[in-house]
Point group: C2
Chain length 286, copies 2
Amino acid sequence: MSTPAKSTPGGPLVAIGGAEDKTSEAEILRRVLSLSKKDAPVVGVITTASSVPDDVFGEYHEVFSGLGASEVLDIRIRERSDAASEQFVEMIRNSDIVFISGGDQMRLTNILGGSPVLETIRAQRQSGSVIAGTSAGAACQSQTMVYGGPATDSLRKGAVQMAAGFGLVDGIIIDTHFLERGRFSRLMEVGATNPEYLGVGLGEDAAVLFEGDVMRAFGPGHVIIVDSSQISGSNVFELSDGEAVTVHNVIMHALVDGYGFNLKDRRVLGPDELRAAGLEHWIANS
Amino acid sequence: MSTPAKSTPGGPLVAIGGAEDKTSEAEILRRVLSLSKKDAPVVGVITTASSVPDDVFGEYHEVFSGLGASEVLDIRIRERSDAASEQFVEMIRNSDIVFISGGDQMRLTNILGGSPVLETIRAQRQSGSVIAGTSAGAACQSQTMVYGGPATDSLRKGAVQMAAGFGLVDGIIIDTHFLERGRFSRLMEVGATNPEYLGVGLGEDAAVLFEGDVMRAFGPGHVIIVDSSQISGSNVFELSDGEAVTVHNVIMHALVDGYGFNLKDRRVLGPDELRAAGLEHWIANS
């Protein structure tokens, strides 16, 4: 079995399912900050996905400052010309953590796709910076990105809308607000269209950290893994658009904080195995 | 592996996920009517679950009459004393099809549990009558019945509320409005509590027909099978109420009209196998 799922090499990559706690607790955002090697990192916030960037930046400025960021940069990219601007490229170069807010993932790919800013984000990651995103900012991390299709109408051929994403992680398709918006059937349809891709359904206030072949769940919410690699049948290629899709033998796992998943073996890792994997990763990278 | 899932012996048993089409098309209700051996059957409608029995009975009266029922009986059981009344027992005895409407399944079990009316429903089924129910009227058919717990909050220990149901089908837990209300995590939690029970998640305008060891999906919607028999781990017994449940290796199948499931082998049946199974069943019962 070909299992291409892995994160591309570089610094920590974090995908958050949306609606993460931003109060003093802020379990997930606190962890994101701690992933930087700096004690008081610079956080660059990209609010391109949002239609209310003022509000969104204001919130993250407050929470990241409260958690110990030395500076929170307002990377206010609103159109493609901004995504080519040296000013914003420079801000990303100065960020120890690049944080991509929620909103509409199609704005992200439309405005940032193929831009100097996106190239700089990739380069930052290569050089060890933390890249993190929530909701749209998480969905865009996949190579093939889900951007639409109501959950209640999915498992109908063509219902799930997909486009090319940023490809920060290979072989994985990320969906967000997963339990709250009942998107299980969405990733089952995605899996039927190409079983090679592992579905990662992030609940609200839940996150994953990609680290080589290992993905770690953290935060108060759930992470649902939708593994279609063993599906034994589907009618998807026989159907016309809108017809009901059948798919058999989809394997799912519900992970919580402290659990992880080996992307290569497609296997759940318990807290003990996960600690061992972390140690190996730390030794390999130090 | 012990797999107790099977319908109890007797006439056809149908569970519908709610919101079935009641227009002239009425694919599911038409099929329910055709399951009776009578050309123009008597349909007894039990509206106990509903808080608006007038409206609900009116709708079913119209659709079943239009589809060719010779009579549609208003079995208006509102309290426990009704459920003991000889009048209603007699109406059920006269029904070729007993149809249980939607509403609140707790009203059904509270009012009908242990009553002469429920005994008569069971006896009717033994003698070959059709029993069908939608939404609450489907959920109540399980031995252990799900009656509450918001989908967005499930996979938290104790979130899914269960009670004893009518036990018309063994080893199965039925949930309804399944895709529309995103209830996948609800049956994942149910499966973690006892992996022996097969979860059957009925979408709206989707139905299953139980026939011995075979369950057939029909109607325009989806039926999701949640098979927890192979789960490889869960923390559910270590948790306090409200804590996040992890569960690994849950197998799911999305079935559509024309597909089925062998409850004994826990195996999807394609259209060809299903036709063969139907023939065997027909020979065994003729």
